[in-house]
Symmetry: D2
């Protein structure tokens, strides 16, 4: 049985690196994969997934109007592939998540989606909500707060370095950045730097990261 | 750091058994636990959590109006306990899930919530949505469809044995029953019985159940 | 593909409870399991596996001379079963572990073995060494040292409560008891009791036990 | 508590890639790591760990005579580091594994060892045996047989492409190569190529690889 996976995390946990490596694993064994990324991501040029350690790969783009089942079925007529990868999966609609479920269930091709769990206000994105509800396998890509605890939340930080509490779920072309915090420090709106003691906790915690 | 756990599954995966065993583990080491179950569950008398293999334990009850943080803080004045367990956690409100997060973050007591992921129409329950968004650890308690695949969905079956597609999220005192299906057979509204080949898949799959 | 599992732990982690529950899961779905326990275990009457929380089940017994492949093949002629469970698997010989591997690979019946990883001197038992080398899946059943850390080692304690460092790997009918310690306290031969701070660590750690 | 990890696998599972990424994760957060590799590995020049996807990093080398505890303690006088990584850990002696355990327990620095579980004859390497006995965390880096099943065994293949059954555990400078097989095909000495049906199983299986 092919499955639908949701690999979720806070920011900067290395999701795109994992996606590119998993895709590389298929190629190394003579198989092919089909990659998608969201059209509204403007961190990189459209049609490319890249990671901070320097890996990158071409990708198809999707917006919220694309029928992913029809698109993937169409692609299959042109060439065989053995897995589908979706980056920025938080931006999928509920309907698109069901289309991906049908790809797994009826076309029998595994689908691996990577994305954020919640936005800067602690609300689920539409794609994340649908994936958390119906994906076969939920896997957390862990990352760490400055205090050494596990980071599960995302804060939006403005150009002056202050945490922003209001605004749209998605801002395109702005000066905001995002930072991963544990739930306690996210609730307290508290940024910080690792101290000596925290560094020990950080060092231990990093060994526990399931997916490196 | 105390954490908030969400142990989720489809129906009849043995969640209550796991809850009672985990609670028993605390008692065996001279520690105490505090148990809650939802007021609207009428499968058993109010104030008790029981499992199919015959274990049971007393529990406090909660409805959607209870302030769980205040209640747990109050209980702490009367006696020490080292963990909080919540059964039927799908019925929590979003606000109550945040109250439980504060119990973990500020009272430093770990909270283990057990509940369903989605209802019979594939929609998340309010408590499940909030827990999937902000719990520190998501753990699936696996169960199996009649076909031998992993069951992730729940179907409502009426007294004649037919799958019901419409109705309220929660029905109290009705004749309905619930059955766990894989996403494919849930989508097809297809019940069935294990055949010879499926029994092999079932036998293998049961070994993989993480928490049994 | 049927698999060979090794569920290992230190003492008193609840391995027998897990074995009995996993076996119960098969019966609940109309399938059967075949149980074995070691002949030299004299904690209970021969031919029975029991757990501290009060569960028990009949079992065949094995000694180091039994050909487990032949025995299981013979049993199959009498009645169908869907899984084999082995308690006290540390006492298997290397050859018997290979026999169990052949049961999984050629009779296509999954085999779940439960046992200790190392003896009181930190040496592997013969069955554990072979299972750690060739089992398909290694799963730790976690338990906890008095200090709140994970316990991975086993100490032998004499009737006066002192840790014993010399002696045979297996003692039958003696007055010794066994206790689980973390590697640090095992190396230091240091027993102790949980203090206030340790109790917090213990409480957190118990939530992390994968198999309850 | 700092821990001793053993990340084990058959050949070509990507262990060195994982090691280098985990080490990179430390540097990205302003922390440092200390890397070791075995002196007898001649796939690469001494003092370097490299992976097939093109990553590499300098490393200290160890032979079986080096006191790793003393060496790491000495290194600490020169510069701070937060984690120790050991490649080719199957070549450690039992004594060296205990030295690494003391680094975790007494210097409080986590140690991550990566290596093979068994040799081409299905026997444990000395370092693997000791790590499987006393490491705090055992993590499998999965890889796949040509048949689509999980590969847990390693076969030695001579220059003509035939499986070799006799010989020394380690051969330096020879023409042999190594290939990962499932236990069944390793027992049958059977090499092969993925067929259509196997490719589906392979494609599904690759999604399940825990560490990508």
């Amino acid at each position: 049985m092919a499955k639908l996976y949701f690999n979720f995390s806070a920011m900067n946990a290395g999701k795109s690196t994992l996606l590119l490596q998993a895709s590389y694993n298929y190629q190394e064994r003579g198989m092919r994969s089909l990659l998608f990324t969201a059209a509204l991501d403007n961190r990189t040029k459209v049609g490319e997934i890249s990671s901070r350690i320097g890996l990158k790969s071409e990708a198809l783009i999707y917006d919220t109007k694309l029928d992913l089942f029809a698109c993937i079925e169409e692609q299959l007529k042109e060439h065989q592939f053995n897995a589908v990868f979706i980056d920025e999966a938080q931006f999928l609609t509920e309907e698109q998540v069901w289309q991906l479920a049908h790809v797994a269930d009826h076309l029998r091709i595994p689908v691996m989606a990577y994305g954020l769990r919640t936005d800067f206000q602690g609300k689920m994105f539409p794609g994340s909500a649908a994936l958390l509800a119906i994906a076969d396998i939920l896997r957390e890509v862990r990352t760490i707060c400055w205090c050494g605890s596990k980071a599960t939340m995302v804060a939006r930080v403005d150009e002056s370095g202050n945490i922003v509490e209001e605004g749209d779920q998605v801002v395109i072309g702005g000066e905001e950045s995002y930072i991963s915090l544990c739930r306690k420090h996210w609730s307290m709106r508290k940024l910080g730097e690792p101290t000596g003691e925290n560094k020990d906790a950080l060092a231990d915690m990093m060994c526990e990261l399931v997916d490196h």
